[in-house]
């Protein structure tokens, strides 16, 4: 991870590999660091995994008021660090941002992968509140096998505060209205046992994007890239390299 200047601030970023660039946007807890799935993906492409504003050691999110500001922040990274279209993959909160990015910046989005993503709200299937859920229930909601929790870094203070900008009190900022504007070929990946975001949400996301495909990974909860790493990497590479 290295600190890199961007605009008036600084972003911590894991940037590795060579080839067609993939922008990875992390979930609400924390940046995954040099995780296995990222290093494997970086063997065949350049992976750019920035930390979100307000997280960890990156600059505060203060000037970024809403989801459009957040998307423009991503656009700046892509324009300055790549200078052309990228593949975009987002997990959880990062999936919500990735989908918005694809809708608002189609000229910079080659292919889109959404993993256990927030962004929608289904009235007949309300999501659990990730900020209030009891620790034991949270563990069960996140992982098919609770032992997998040890493989995910713990969030540092301030991360969840930054996440509340988009997830509080309902993790929805109008994405459903903008999904039809997504032009990039899209793969929606979801852990079968995700208790934070049920599979129905993945189906709804895929249903909102023309031509999107939804694939459910068994043996995984909210972190399929950790709990089902092989299947996850294969699915992502298969999709990205198909076009």
């Amino acid at each position: 991870m290295t600190a890199r200047a961007l605009g008036a601030g600084s972003v911590l970023v894991w940037d590795a590999g060579k080839g067609r660039p993939l922008l990875f946007l992390h979930g609400y807890d924390t940046h995954p660091g040099e995780a296995g799935f990222l290093t494997r993906l970086a063997q065949n492409r350049r992976v750019i995994a920035p930390e979100h504003p307000g997280y960890g050691e990156s600059s505060a999110a203060g000037p970024l008021h809403d989801i459009v500001d957040q998307v423009l922040h991503c656009r700046l990274m892509v324009e300055q660090w790549v200078g052309g279209p990228v593949d975009v993959m987002g997990h959880c909160l990062g999936g919500m941002i990735a989908a918005e990015f694809a809708a608002l910046c189609p000229h910079l989005t080659r292919r889109l992968v959404l993993v256990d993503s927030y962004g929608l709200w289904l009235d007949d299937m309300p999501l659990p509140d990730p900020f209030v859920i009891r620790p034991a229930d949270l563990l069960a909601a996140k992982f098919a096998d609770p032992a997998a929790a040890a493989k995910v870094p713990a969030p540092v203070m301030g991360n969840h505060a930054a996440a509340t900008r988009f997830l509080w009190p309902i993790p929805e900022r109008g994405l459903s209205r903008r999904l039809p504007f997504v032009q990039a070929p899209t793969l929606v990946l979801h852990g079968a046992q995700d208790g934070l975001i049920p599979v129905a949400y993945a189906e709804a996301l895929a249903g909102g994007i023309a031509g999107a495909r939804c694939s459910v990974l068994s043996g995984a909860g909210h972190f399929p890239m950790i709990e089902a790493e092989d299947a996850f990497v294969a699915a992502v590479e298969g999709f990205l390299d198909a076009g």
Partner: protein
């Protein structure tokens, strides 16, 4: 030294096993436990007790705002303030306060306080609060990281709407108003403003920068409060702020009776009811982003000092309503006993913490109206007059300036 009558309007009829059931008393407390007729009678009782406090010589009648909780069924303090403004004559109407971030647009606060000021002939104290996390970020859904900015924008808008004599446009981040033009305008040219807090350094800066009265409103007792209040005064000194004791308000539960034995017999169960039934799901008390890292660290420091004077066991028992009545008194959660005893203890408290505005909690939990009336009368007649000499050398700029005149007018009216 000023005394303000206050009570948390606690729902008095929770089931005996409420605490054991581990039901959160805030945010998602089951509504099936609420009887609207009980709430109605409770509200009428509080209005009667505060009318009595007005006659008994209290300087202010304090009303507050909480949401979705049987701990305090007062969703809009302005409603209760309006009822009191119309049916009392002397005391300040201490609105402590309106949760600025929750009013949309916040000119609603400016309008209602101005209206109550007109109705009460200029007796309003304007309190601005952030609201507890339970109220502001859970019940009303404000993202915690936005709370302070929303508060600040609302505060500036409200102050300008009181001060400006011509219509103006306000282009804020959260509020866009093309024509702000308050009707009615308040009687007081400048409201006294109070801001309560729970130890956040940012709130201390706000009160020092603007010469507001700071309120430490907690029910955790003298020992928990002392490190925080001491730190506040040190901070004021360091920042070159005004150390006038009248800019510090403090809540204290009081249980006055003719004898110490009568105090225990009268108030013990109500005090235990109050503490026992204030269990809040910890997740609702500490949402991410509600406090800055700087404040979290400072508060942890104060807490550590406080914890050295009260054992963890005593704290847990106090919060569960399981301490002996006189243990609550010894640890400073309450001040109880005969008027002589209470006089002495309140004096010590106010001197020790440098408090010029005591928010006297004279009804608590499921106390009967009769006991609340006795408490109000004894404190008002047997305690307050003996403490009026405190801080007399300091000018009180944080209560309405016309109060003495209003009281004299009311007295003349009564005599005629």
């Amino acid at each position: 030294m000023k005394f303000h009558w206050f009570a948390e309007a606690s729902y008095p009829d929770l089931p005996a096993d409420f605490r054991e059931a581990k039901i959160s008393s805030w945010v998602d407390t089951p509504k099936r436990l609420a009887d609207p007729h009980v709430v109605g009678e409770m509200c009428r009782m509080f209005i009667r007790l505060m009318q009595q406090a007005d006659r008994d010589g209290y300087d202010g009648l304090a009303v507050n705002e909480h949401h979705q909780t049987p701990f305090a069924v007062t969703p809009s303090p302005n409603l209760l303030a309006a009822a009191l403004a119309h049916t009392t004559e002397r005391a300040a109407i201490l609105i402590i306060g309106d949760s600025l971030a929750l009013y949309n647009p916040p000119t609603r606060v400016a309008e209602e306080m101005a209206w109550i000021d007109c109705l009460s002939q200029g007796r309003v104290i304007a309190g601005f609060v952030f609201g507890t996390p339970m109220d502001s970020v859970f019940a009303y859904g404000i993202p915690p990281v936005e709370l302070r900015e929303r508060f600040e924008e609302a505060r500036l808008l409200i102050l300008k709407s009181w001060a400006e004599q011509e219509p103006f446009a306000f282009n804020g981040r959260f509020n866009k108003l093309r024509y702000v033009n308050l009707w009615p305008k308040p009687i007081q040219p400048k409201f006294p403003i109070w801001v309560p807090g729970s130890g956040s350094v940012e709130t201390w800066d706000l009160t020092i920068d603007n010469d507001y009265c700071y309120g430490h409103l907690s029910f955790s007792g003298l020992h928990a409060a002392k490190p925080m209040v001491d730190a506040y005064w040190e901070y004021v000194a360091r920042r070159g702020g005004d150390p006038n004791p009248h800019r510090m308000a403090f809540t204290q539960i009081l249980c006055v009776a003719n004898t110490d034995a009568e105090a225990e017999a009268t108030y013990s169960e109500a005090v235990k009811y109050f503490y026992r039934n204030r269990y809040v799901n910890p997740a609702f008390e500490g949402p991410p982003g509600y406090r800055s890292t700087k404040s979290v660290q400072a508060i942890m420091g104060h807490r550590k000092i406080a914890e050295s004077s009260v054992s963890a066991e005593d704290r847990a028992k106090a919060a569960a309503g399981e301490l002996d009545f006189w243990e609550y008194d010894r640890l400073g959660y309450i001040i109880a006993g005969s008027p002589e005893r209470v006089r002495q203890r309140v004096r010590e408290l106010c001197v020790d913490l440098r408090i010029g505005q005591l928010i006297a909690c004279l009804h608590v939990g499921n106390l009967s109206e009769e006991a609340g009336a006795m408490n109000t009368r004894l404190f008002g007649h047997e305690v307050m007059p003996h403490l009026r000499d405190l801080w007399i050398e300091h000018e009180d700029r944080w209560t309405p300036q016309g109060l003495a005149e209003i009281a004299a007018k009311a007295a003349r009216g009564a005599a005629a």
